[in-house]
């Protein structure tokens, strides 16, 4: 794949560059576009405090005395529609954290062994991993959900195996790319000092891989947290739900149509992501770039 050098400080304007007329116009245009960009999310936020009749009358009106619903939508949303929201949020968090940790741990070890051992079998596994990234989920979804049923992987614990298997492609690929750039001498030195492969891996290789670990963690987090179809097909219906499954249930025809409560839940689902984004924006953007460059 082609190489794009990634600079550490992305898009940092060179210390107070003189603003020409064209640049000022551009700033104004971007500002207007930015307002439109956050508008949909803001509208939902605003409406999450309105009564249903207020929402139906005018989506774009600010809440007034008559339509202001205080936190009623949030309170209702918590236990709304025969599945409490906090349970869905908990399972989402559990599956995301568990899946990402499992993927990081297992695939980084796997990628290192594949690269360093480099037998024919290793090469075949590596190529299969790359191949798996192209395959659309709909091609494997039916046999995959049946396999999960047969092996009783229809729980939030079992689904972690599915995520490890289906997410392995990208992770192994990214880790392999990085392992190739680690000079062999470092590991040979550890070997001479008498460290076995396990010790070499955990004390020498793993710390060096930190930037890639973060990138892979970000990409896999964004994928698993927002994933809908895989958990929907695999998890036991009605017993376990993640946030996307719950939202689609409410949105679909079978859910009770209570827009106020749904919007309150939308706000609650977006909030942790926004906090996460502001906390590690730098890593997210680096992760996206390095994932794309290698993908």
């Amino acid at each position: 794949m082609a190489k794009v050098a990634v600079k550490k400080k992305a898009a940092e304007p060179k210390a107070r560059k003189k603003q020409t007329k064209g640049m000022i116009v551009l700033t104004v245009i971007f500002s207007v576009v930015s307002v439109f960009y956050v508008m949909p999310v803001f509208v939902v936020f605003m409406n999450s405090f309105k009564t249903n009749s207020g929402i139906a009358r005018n989506l774009y009106a600010f809440p007034n005395e008559e339509t202001f619903n205080k936190l009623a939508n949030y309170i209702k949303g918590m236990t709304f529609a025969n599945y409490p929201f906090y349970k869905a949020a908990f399972w989402s968090l559990f599956i995301t954290v568990g899946g990402v940790v499992l993927i990081l741990f297992c695939t980084s070890m796997c990628a290192w062994y594949l690269q360093r051992s480099n037998t024919i079998i290793c090469k075949i596994i590596y190529i299969l991993c790359i191949f798996s990234m192209v395959v659309p989920f709909q091609m494997v979804m039916y046999p995959l959900s049946k396999t999960a049923d047969t092996l009783h992987l229809d729980t939030p614990w079992g689904i972690l195996v599915m995520y490890l298997g289906f997410g392995a492609g990208l992770a192994v690929f990214m880790f392999s790319g990085f392992v190739k750039s680690i000079p062999l001498e470092i590991e040979e030195a550890a070997d001479v000092d008498g460290a076995g492969p396990l010790r070499t891996y955990f004390q020498v290789v793993l710390p060096i891989m930190k930037p890639t670990l973060i990138s892979v963690a970000i990409l896999e987090t964004m994928w698993i947290w927002n994933d809908y179809l895989l958990p929907y097909l695999v998890l036991k219906k009605g017993v376990y739900r993640t946030i996307p499954i719950h939202m689609q249930y409410l949105n679909g025809s079978y859910g009770q149509s209570d827009n106020g409560a749904i919007m309150a839940l939308v706000v609650l689902s977006i909030l942790p992501i926004v906090v996460f984004y502001f906390a590690c924006q730098k890593y997210i953007i680096e992760g996206v770039v390095s994932g794309a460059v290698k993908g």
Binding site: A10, A11, N251, G252, G295
Partner: protein, 290 residues
């Protein structure tokens, strides 16, 4: 590192967990999927071999063909729009205007939210606007559904591609511009002869990503229109994309043609692979080395 004697032992420790999960989560379902596409079945315990019949049926299935054309149209429009927008926004954000970082933060944000939630949000937004103008709602009008989906995808994906283009712009060495300026190049020549060739790797990546993302789109399609409206005359859901259509063949009401669904899945897979390969080959030829 790995000596012959203990190679197998360490393979067990290092590779086996991932490889076992990879077999369960990918290799076995993939192989089974190809096998099932040659069988007729409702449940896995009763398979009847039918050869290529499922494929023949898939190509005669008008909802499959309609979803193919709808997807193709969507892919063409969205790939062009997303890349154009992302490219120029990235250009604007790398010439050093005030607030570049804030704009970048804002434009990327929609990518963190899942497709299901985005679909719901935009459904509400569009319907409220359309109601204001006394226009038909999103789910009763095919072209509204199409453009709604395009707007949603541009809004979401442009920020992602912008990040990659920004990295591309920043990797163009400044001395190339200076050398070109000394040779008397004007602004347009700078763009076409320096920037564009140097940006080809980024353009390849972004086209590749938008192409496959748009082709495989499922969540947003499901949450925004779910395929509605239904055209009674043709007997078709008019805004169903391929992924959603395959899903409906498998799990929709009264579905009993699971073999056909699997065959459509295999065709879908082959199309995605073919397009990716062709596109990669075409744009790669234009890349240059700095």
């Amino acid at each position: 590192m790995f000596k012959k004697a203990n190679r197998k032992l360490y393979a067990l420790i290092f590779v086996l967990p991932t490889f076992a999960a990879f077999i369960i989560g990918f290799i076995y379902p993939f192989a089974k999927g190809i096998q099932l596409s040659f069988f007729k079945f409702r449940r896995l315990n009763k398979l009847t071999f039918v050869g290529l019949d499922n494929y023949k049926e898939a190509f005669q299935d008008k909802s499959f063909l309609a979803s193919f054309w709808f997807t193709l149209m969507f892919v063409v429009v969205s790939v062009i729009l997303i890349n154009l927008i992302a490219f120029f926004v990235a250009y604007g954000l790398t010439i050093g205007i005030r607030g570049s970082n804030i704009f970048r933060t804002v434009f990327f944000m929609p990518n963190l939210v899942g497709g299901i939630i985005l679909g719901y949000i935009w459904h509400q937004i569009f319907d409220a606007i359309l109601r204001n103008f006394d226009k038909p709602s999103l789910v009763t009008n095919t072209s509204m559904g199409f453009w709604g989906l395009i707007i949603l995808m541009c809004w979401q994906q442009a920020g992602y591609m912008m990040i990659i283009y920004i990295a591309g712009f920043q990797s163009v060495p400044g001395d190339l511009y200076e050398a070109a300026k000394i040779d008397g190049a004007n602004r347009r020549q700078l763009l076409t002869n320096v920037t564009l060739p140097m940006m080809m790797p980024s353009i390849t990546i972004c086209t590749f990503l938008t192409l496959t993302n748009s082709f495989k789109l499922f969540d947003q399609n499901l949450a925004l229109t779910a395929g509605a409206p239904y055209n009674v005359d043709k007997g078709l859901w008019t805004t169903r994309m391929m992924a959603l259509n395959i899903y409906e063949v498998f799990y929709g009401e009264g579905s009993n043609a699971k073999g056909v669904g699997q065959a459509e899945g295999v065709i879908f897979f082959l199309i995605v692979v073919a397009i990716s390969l062709v596109q990669l080959f075409l744009t790669r030829r234009k890349e240059v080395q700095a």
